[in-house]
Amino acid sequence: MIHTRGLTRSFRTKGETVEAVRGLNLDIEAGSVVAFLGPNGAGKTTSLRMLTTLLPPTSGTAVVAGHDVRTDPAGVRHRIGYLGQGNSAGSNFRVSDELVTQGRAYGLSRAESRSRAERLVTALELDGLAKRTVGTLSGGQRRRLDIAMALVHEPALLFLDEPTTGLDPHSRANIWDHVLRLHKELGTTVVFTTHYLEEADLWARRVMVVDHGRVIADDSPEKLKADLAGDRITLGTADRADAERAVELARGLPTVHEVTADGTEVRIRTPHGDTQLPVLLRNLEVAGVRALTARLVRPTLDDVFLSLTGRTLRESADATAPTTTQDGA
């Protein structure tokens, strides 16, 4: 569905050349749900803008839905849906009018555009708002309208740029319900960017971690967490001697990344904490070591980012925030 080779985009700001995206090589097959995860300014939005024909690449190629973004942008536009970070509907237009205009823009007949608009209004729980002016809607309602506008032509490929930023948890869940239902019913390929780690974790089957314009990791969330972060097991023992013996025993387990002792506390990193912990406890029992407490913490994608870059996503966002405004990346 998406194939890019060496896709690059640089901006010139204040006499300096900033490489927002450096040599992106992507192969995304039809029917997948893919998340771009990374701090502000990592190049997520810039990548999406190139894939959606909004921004010409500086170099490299991108074939999206079978059409080259450079030589056949209209072919790409016909086949993709896009939800930008802003509001898709003009604020002094009517909800139903904006939906019909979208349908017309994709070459649907007036009647067909109207009937699709009506169906989408119901599907996205905008009933009763069709005749309202867009500017009078709440934030969550506007975002649902944005989604509806991106879906009028039933695209095979849907790009969502931070679809739920700034929304309350209920609206966020609501939007994901709709997107995933569409994915299930029509096999729509979904590519999204997000700041919310749990969204990438919950909904994406493939997560691309992006930093400084490059993809630095690319796998399912489960594998990323298992391979790059791992579960953390923390054991509490009665004294230092027990802690030391526990360290020995833990090191004997298969696939353990790291074991450290801190006083009477033992910390273990392993990709499979859920299966390792019972084994470890049994081994301790047999060896006569008493574990007073045992705690298992599953990793988050933030741990993955931390182990890849040495920074957490939040720190990175703060550090790069001032430079991200001009390229919107």
Binding site: R77, G84, R104
Partner: protein, 257 residues
């Protein structure tokens, strides 16, 4: 045909809110209204102004200029709506659709012109009770000329907006900087003749395309067709329209927000 369908789509979208709130078109008419109400009465004491017309009523001379002022003031701000949509995300939403780029511009410009014609007609109707004499054919031709000029100014305003996306103040600054000289140098308020104006001002007014449009409108609204002024006005308005539409379409094609 796709280009025509797309133009109709873009036009229909823009016209929707105007039809829902027709009172909105009164706001952009404010300037010509004020001049007609508060400035035109001063002319009645002066007799035939500018020596350009044979009829006695100063309205005959003043009103066509006001229509050009209307065309300038109503369509020059057209880009502001585009500017808003560029910062809100609505324009980006249109750019990811396969809608023809030329249609995006022409559809918007046509909507501006429809509003302009409605406003011009309203002014003419309001003037019926005065001693302003309406020559139907001349007025029709005058409105057609106004349409061509309005398309050009509207398209130029959109072009300016497309180029001001990174700095919105640029749009308003340049727009005002161009709007007022165009207006003042067109002889809308007072005649600018070789006898009445300093040479430099006269020369500047002859460079201004709006001057020719104003003179052509005065001839047409007086029912005079066979005049060189009419031809010059048509040429000037067409030149502005071609320039605006070509630059605007190019701007739309290159638009990346």
């Amino acid at each position: 045909m796709k280009v025509l369908d797309d133009t109709r789509t873009a036009f229909a979208r823009e016209l929707g809110p105007e039809l829902r709130q027709p009172a909105g078109l009164l706001f952009t008419m404010l300037l010509p209204f004020l001049f007609l109400a508060l400035f035109a009465p001063l002319l009645s004491g002066t007799g035939p102004a500018g020596g350009g017309t044979g009829t006695g009523s100063p309205w005959q001379w003043f009103v066509p200029g006001m229509l050009v002022l209307l065309a300038l003031s109503a369509t020059a701000g057209a880009g502001a709506s585009l500017l808003n949509e560029m910062s809100s995300g609505a324009f980006e939403r249109m750019l990811v659709t396969p809608l023809n780029r030329a249609s995006m511009l022409v559809g918007r410009a046509l909507k501006e012109v429809v509003i302009l014609l409605a406003q011009a007609l309203l002014i003419l109707v309001l003037l019926l009770p005065t001693d302003f004499r309406l020559h139907p054919l001349g007025a029709l031709a005058g409105l057609a000329l106004l349409t061509v000029f309005g398309v050009g100014i509207g398209a130029l305003s959109f072009t300016l907006a497309l180029h001001s996306r990174k700095q919105q103040t640029l749009f308003y600054g340049v727009q005002q900087m161009i709007f007022f000289p165009l207006l003042l140098l067109s002889g809308v308020l007072l005649p600018i003749t070789q006898a009445s104006a300093p040479t430099w001002l006269y020369v500047l007014s002859r460079i201004n395309p709006a001057t020719y449009v104003v003179e052509a409108e005065r001839a047409l609204f007086d029912g005079r067709f066979a005049e060189a002024n009419v031809l010059y006005g048509l040429l000037a308005a067409s030149a502005v329209a071609v320039l605006g539409v070509v630059a605007g379409i190019r701007g739309m094609r290159n638009a990346s927000v």
